[in-house]
Symmetry: C2
Subunit: 129 residues, 2 copies
DNA sequence: CATGTTCTACGAATCAATTCGTACACAAAT
DNA sequence: ATTTGTGTACGAATTGATTCGTAGAACATG
C-alpha cells in the first residue's frame, strides 16, 4: 500500500492544503500562510509538521539547515477519503444526499450549476455508451 | 438564536443519527443501535448522552425512571453546517468541487444522477424566474 | 421486606490533539 | 570572537473526548 497512515486531523489538513497549494515550503512559509487565517505560534506549527512527518503525511528535505517540506499524500486521494467518510457517517452512504445538501445549502453560482450539469451529462453518456 | 451550541463530535453525531432515525428513545435503545456497528459500554453511551444534554444537543423527558431522549437540533441544519465546514476547510469554499469529488469518487446510480439533474433544473428555474 | 435487575449520576483514568517554553545548533553581521 | 537572528528538537502542560468503575435510587418478583 502506498499510503499506510491515511488520516489527518483538522489542523493537519490545514497544513496539507498549504502544501498542496504552494508546493515544497519551509515551516516559516507554512506558518505565515496559517497566520493569514488564524492565530498560531511558530513552534506549534513546527511541532505539527514534525508529527506529520512521523505519520508520513509529509516528507522533507533536511539536507540544509532550513528544512523543506512536501505533502506525501495525494490530494485527490485524501479528499476522496474524507468525502467518503462523510457520506458514510452523515448521509447513510448516499452521495446524492450529500450533493443535494451541499447545493441546497448555499448559493452556488449559475455557472457552477451549469458545469455540474455538464459533468453529469458526460457521466451519463459514458455510463450509457 | 435557536441553537446556541452547534457542534458535535464524531461519537455525538452517531448518536444524533440514531435519534433522528428512531425518534425519542432510551439510552438502552441507543446503546443497542450503536452496538450493531461498534463496541461500546453502556455507561459510556449514557455519559455521552448526558454530556449532549449539557450541550443542548438533545433534550430528555426525565419524568419517569427511564429517561427518554430526543434530538434537540434539526437534522438538516446540523448536516448543512457540517457540509459547509467541509466545503470551506477542504474545498476552498467551492461547493462544486465537493460535488464533483463526491460523484466522481463513487458509483452513483443513473437514477440518482437523474434526480440530481432535475434538482438542478428546478434550482435554475427558480433562480432565473 | 429481601433480593436481583435496571437504571442514572458522577468522578476519575486514559488517550489524542494542540500549544508552548526552553535548549541548543548554525550562520551572518558587527 | 561575540552578538543577534533564525532554525530544529523535544518535553511538558493543557485541553477535549472518550471510557469505565462504582455507588445508589427505583422497581419488580418471590
Amino acid at each position: 500500500m502506498m499510503h499506510p497512515h491515511i488520516k489527518a486531523t483538522e489542523s493537519e489538513l490545514e497544513i496539507l492544503n498549504i502544501l498542496w497549494r504552494e508546493g515544497p515550503v519551509t515551516v516559516r512559509q507554512v506558518h505565515e500562510a496559517l497566520s493569514a487565517t488564524k492565530e498560531a505560534g511558530y513552534t506549534t506549527t513546527l511541532k505539527l509538521m514534525q508529527i506529520m512527518l512521523e505519520k508520513n503525511l509529509v516528507s522533507r528535505d533536511a539536507s540544509r539547515k532550513v528544512h523543506v517540506y512536501t505533502a506525501a499524500i495525494d490530494q485527490g486521494r485524501m479528499k476522496g477519503q474524507i468525502v467518503q467518510r462523510m457520506i458514510d457517517n452523515v448521509f447513510s452512504g448516499s452521495a446524492m444526499q450529500l450533493v443535494m445538501q451541499a447545493l441546497g445549502n448555499q448559493r452556488t453560482s449559475p455557472e457552477e450549476i451549469e458545469m455540474i450539469k455538464q459533468y453529469l451529462d458526460e457521466k451519463q453518456n459514458i455510463a450509457g455508451a
